[in-house]
Symmetry: C6
Subunit: 70 residues, 6 copies
Amino acid sequence: MSDLQTGMPSTRQLQHAIKEKQEVELKLVTDDLIVGKVKWQDPDCICLVDHYDQPTIVWRHAIAYLKPKS
Amino acid sequence: MSDLQTGMPSTRQLQHAIKEKQEVELKLVTDDLIVGKVKWQDPDCICLVDHYDQPTIVWRHAIAYLKPKS
Amino acid sequence: MSDLQTGMPSTRQLQHAIKEKQEVELKLVTDDLIVGKVKWQDPDCICLVDHYDQPTIVWRHAIAYLKPKS
Amino acid sequence: MSDLQTGMPSTRQLQHAIKEKQEVELKLVTDDLIVGKVKWQDPDCICLVDHYDQPTIVWRHAIAYLKPKS
Amino acid sequence: MSDLQTGMPSTRQLQHAIKEKQEVELKLVTDDLIVGKVKWQDPDCICLVDHYDQPTIVWRHAIAYLKPKS
Amino acid sequence: MSDLQTGMPSTRQLQHAIKEKQEVELKLVTDDLIVGKVKWQDPDCICLVDHYDQPTIVWRHAIAYLKPKS
């Protein structure tokens, strides 16, 4: 992974979510809400997987916010 | 924190809000309004926590403006 | 202020507005219209204050245009 | 003007419009349509003036397209 | 291809989709949904082709997310 | 032209469209659809001309996708 800034809090929180298999909600600038577990992150994208293990690759520029699944 | 430009007024105001546990309103480009205390900032994101201490990680590119909670 | 390009016309007009305490209108990509005096600018943000001296920190990426208050 | 790439066709067309006092239409990502003569450009912004010589400073990131006034 | 970061998971998943001729769904920030096989990617764009082999060149900045065709 | 990356597929396809005087459709993030022949491209913009040879200079950041005119 080339440019991922592993020292940033946001990167570390995502790494934590990956490790702990936490469910999260991603609100997108399109108003879509994507719910799932974080599978991986890279400098451009974050990948969530749903209950059927289907992946959705979300571009970071399209993310408004991330919350733990309530 | 790699690239946070601590000399910029906007960064300093956010650091001030973190230290003083100020409540702020973040208006997003999605028209969402997120209210809470600023927990941390990094070059990509700002984290707010609500009254139940639940975090919301907001991407800076999605922020329109920030105001003190009125 | 690290990267503010003080030679650019747009930066200079904003500095002029700060010095002259001009009222301006900022139209945002959210269609919000923020009216006030420009308090400060940095490479990421522009801060307006309203009649009650309440600040609004606006991210530049969210600005569509700026006009003198009509 | 620090970074304006004067060799680019888009920059040159704008310089031409400034010199010739051409009226143009700027369509913004907010769907606003700004009509006027181009007064100046810099790497971040383009300034149009209307019939009353009132300026509007438009951020480039908010521009969708530019056409000669029809 | 100048800057394509071939080590990133998102780039590799797209290369995999190209090689395997997988159908994918691209959700755009305009809310358009483009369905097709990934033909190529470069640092700015991703090209999908439909059943009639007609190409659509999609700019990455306009992509919200990508999913395998369900 | 300073920074145009002529080796990228997207740049080459646009050069091809210019040379062949192909009609294309540009879908913008504003949902506008611009139809015409590609006259020139530079790192920031793409210029289309309509049947009356009227130019529209489109900023790349506002483009969602490009298709051959159907």
